[in-house]
Symmetry: C2
Subunit: 675 residues, 2 copies
Amino acid sequence: MNSNRKRVSCGLDVGFTEDLEESIMRSNQNGYDFICTNIVKEGSAPFQGAKLNEKIGGITDTSYLFNSHEWASLVVGKVSYFTDLTSPVDKRRLMASEALMQELQFAAFLSLPAVIVEVKDENCSAVARIIYSFLHQGHHNLHIWVKIPLQSYDGQQDTWQWWNKFRRMCNSHGRIGLALEITSDLPPQLERWSGEPIRVVFLSTSVFLTNKKGFPVLSRPHQQIVSKLLRLNCQAVISGDKINEDSVVVYHQYLNHLCQAANTEGQYERFARGYEDYLQAPLQPLMDNLESSTYEIFEKDPIKYSMYQEAVYRCLLDIIPDEQRDEVTGVIMVLGAGRGPLVRMSLRGAEKANRKVKLYAVEKNRNAAVLLEHLRATEWKKHDVTVVSADMRTWDAPELADIIVSELLGSFGDNELSPECLDGATRFLKPNAVCIPQSYTSYVSPISSQKLYNEVKGVVNSERNKPPESSFETPYVVRIHNYHELADPIALFTFNHPNWNNASENPKTEFYGQVTPKQWQAKFSKECAVEMNGGNHNADVVKEEIDGSECDSLPFSVNDKGLLPDNHHNSRYKRLSFNVPFDTILHGFAGYFRCALYQDVEISIEPRTHSPGMFSWFPIFFPVKDPIDITGGSNLKVDFWRCTNEEKVWYEWCVDSPRPSSIHNPNGRSYTIGL
Amino acid sequence: MNSNRKRVSCGLDVGFTEDLEESIMRSNQNGYDFICTNIVKEGSAPFQGAKLNEKIGGITDTSYLFNSHEWASLVVGKVSYFTDLTSPVDKRRLMASEALMQELQFAAFLSLPAVIVEVKDENCSAVARIIYSFLHQGHHNLHIWVKIPLQSYDGQQDTWQWWNKFRRMCNSHGRIGLALEITSDLPPQLERWSGEPIRVVFLSTSVFLTNKKGFPVLSRPHQQIVSKLLRLNCQAVISGDKINEDSVVVYHQYLNHLCQAANTEGQYERFARGYEDYLQAPLQPLMDNLESSTYEIFEKDPIKYSMYQEAVYRCLLDIIPDEQRDEVTGVIMVLGAGRGPLVRMSLRGAEKANRKVKLYAVEKNRNAAVLLEHLRATEWKKHDVTVVSADMRTWDAPELADIIVSELLGSFGDNELSPECLDGATRFLKPNAVCIPQSYTSYVSPISSQKLYNEVKGVVNSERNKPPESSFETPYVVRIHNYHELADPIALFTFNHPNWNNASENPKTEFYGQVTPKQWQAKFSKECAVEMNGGNHNADVVKEEIDGSECDSLPFSVNDKGLLPDNHHNSRYKRLSFNVPFDTILHGFAGYFRCALYQDVEISIEPRTHSPGMFSWFPIFFPVKDPIDITGGSNLKVDFWRCTNEEKVWYEWCVDSPRPSSIHNPNGRSYTIGL
């Protein structure tokens, strides 16, 4: 029952069977991987009024047939549906509860991988209670797959709410998954299911149409939802009248066909394979030295470096006019040169532009600098390259740069402290120098993902002095996969470079002749305002932001060094507002970035503008501790802060409405990025 | 600043003062206990752009004046109100944030008991963030009192929502309290505030009216809310224009007068004093032997025992007709006789009824039995009393009883396992025997109480193998005080005695001649149905319940002992539905009981029918792990289960709507009552 990209793992729902071995054999012969079968005969209720050590018929007669491995791979159980679980007659209720519990315990005893439990209306607290009690008994591994139809039988109810109630009552238990029944009629808002932990899709043969050749096919809307769900690595089960026909194999074949046809896996998806919903702590390249193998992986990105080459090329053409190309030598400093890809791309860009350059490769990781020195003496021996083993924030540069090139971006843009690093390099820039990248902006969208929520809940934090909720106060780099984006991403924080705001500390102030800090400031403000507009920011606020004179009228002394940290100008705050049109549950926020390397040469991992095939960055995920129910039509407001002090940088976040969350990561108690 | 029942602890809001010592002295001379004063001069913002070690004026100049104890008892600080906390100009925002943080830290440095932080609109995430960060810094004891007006300045906003947001963002931190400002106009639904952690009530002199004699008085609605709030042990602060007049003492005098006039403290309140909102684990008298002092406390109840006497009296008159009073001797068995009060009351009842009785005093606590034997030989030597040191469930009674008398009720009625104990005594009952009590019913109402929620959060569970949420999965006996009842209590579970359901095990079945178990069953069903009707139970359900034939058609074998525990007939399930008319937050459920000792001789702790002056039982509180926001007009549905097995009894509960909670206490993992 392992998922397989080439073919769909598919089972047959054989209902109750007297001869389990025969049923499994026939299903296998017809191309199915496993069967779904009732643990006891519906209506016979053999567990009722009997004890386990008595003879009780059905699957329970065949328990000697298989070894544990066979049970675990070939059979998914189905428990009976008991209407008496809420009976006001206590004895009826107790007998039904006990019978359900015994069926569950029997399934666990046989090492079945999972049992199907049906929910047929919103009134599911009684069955949820028994499931939740069962999950707290002993240490078995049985999974519960709650079977919910896409559409209620009367078409009037929102079956997602049934699931949401069941899940909440069981406290989002990690061993509860979803068995989604594809109904003939499809309600709207099917995308909502894509954030749920769907383990299996139930398809009745009656949902299929028959094509001209007499084969079963799905309608186009059904094809879309089924192939979308199967991409979430779930399995399928065929049920219904025709499953005993010999031709039942065609249903599985059709699903395989559907899956292969829908397979549009590109370079990014191939790279990401196996990383789906796998949480990674964000890199801290400033504090930790990367290993060579980490550099190696990222150097394979087919897109990123060609964009850098293009950016350097275009920039050199702009800053060194054609008529000066013989006299002027551009000074390029690659900051954070790593194993040299940006040096290589800069040299190629210069070659293409036919401009002379002098290049400094600055790298704080001494180990990587050894490699760079080797490359200088070999690959780059005909070029003017100087390798510097130093931290750009403290390096005493021998001359000023025309261009600085860096790749210090994290998944959230600024989260690997690119702003702080590049500010540290402002000291050795010519007044009209260009930073590549010139600016970057983080983007945020609200998402629903039970899968990610459970992953975060499962993170064990071994560090002392951290609060129990610290795993929910940490962002994660993750290839988000089993999720539902509740609204389009909105721009959050923008950083522009060079940032002369911090230039008062510059010991080389004589170079400011041409451009004043104030001029730079005005430019930045305007760019920032445009971004904020894009982010639906309040118009008055934008106006105030653009109004440069605001900055002059601040009632603070010029020298406020004692009060605010050096990097205070990289602090940010913003409230984002999303309109969520449907009932859903919020588990957190996906984060992305968009970056202008030079003018319109951009790289982006923001979904709508994602650079095709660029795989160097997965999104970032900011969890919310207590999932928040959202009623359709609500305005979801969230506050993000980027906080800074002399030693570190961190984010805090909280949901403001429709239901306020607690403030996440106060003082950076759970997560900080070291300077 | 200790609260005092006789007089209101009251402060003066002196605003910013240049001479702190003088201000305190004058306030004290005018009869005030403490002052409220701004930490820095409004508008002067001395912390902005300066460091703490510089001279910064105001209160900060006088920090050498007092010792820590004086600061802690005489001065409550007020921090400045910063509109810039959400400024889009990062530097403004940072300076304001830093200034607020420094004021807070300075207050903590001085050992002030609390500071006042004003919230003036719903947009409070920025100030909440700084407060929450501050509370996570270091180990100081400074409390934050969030000042919220009862009515917003435009009268249009629900200021309770401001508070609710602030509290939620700070994760209901225990050091955050409420400073409630009484406004001239009073909005509706003031009761909602009574569940909040109000520490101080702010009263401006402008809110007072002037009576004929020229003294300040409050309007009647203001009197009601203020005296209600002051009963929550909070303090008062007088603010406004007239606080510098010498006559300012009259405001404090008026509040004292108001408080004393409203003091309707009775026997119950006197007994309960000091126990307000103090959580106690429910007694487990079945598992643990009570100490003599515990018996002693409960024996002082002025009401309970007189009701027992009346019940025995009335019962004896009914079961022994006047014409038989010389021939017949009634057999009374007191089960759980303790130190003898029920024996005493039974003898008095018999005396009053002029009936002959033979009395067995059965007590499982051997220590108490020693006392009983002493009483038999002394106080009761003229009566026919037999002391039996045994557990009623296993006692081999020498004869059958006409009346059994017991007091095994917990705050929730059945929660000290009265049903299971009395079932164990069914064996030695005559067929027409009477149980005193005859029946009891638990009642439940939803409540909002930040205070109780924080108390539960603070419970440290030292037992291993219990989940971290176990304190929220345990009911507590508590004199609920700082709470708001969101709807009237509804009947939950009813138990009737004798319960012949369990009588098939009775070795003395020859006594069934007169009344069949089926007849008893029919009677119970009807009584139960009436209770359920009272509880707004679905009408169809009630019909099914009454229909006695239901029980005959159950598809179970008669002998289901192997499947269901002996005490399965004491299992219960019920869904309760409450209409909540206003926006609020649910923290849990208050539980009570009502008990028919004999016919209409009742005892009750259900508020609407509480037996006056009876103090033996405080209510019980069932917490909800995650407080649930409720929108006005919602239908609040909650499920309660009473679960039983061979060794123990426990409750499980969950909220079904408007927002499902997780199921509390699955399998009794956090709390059970041992049999």
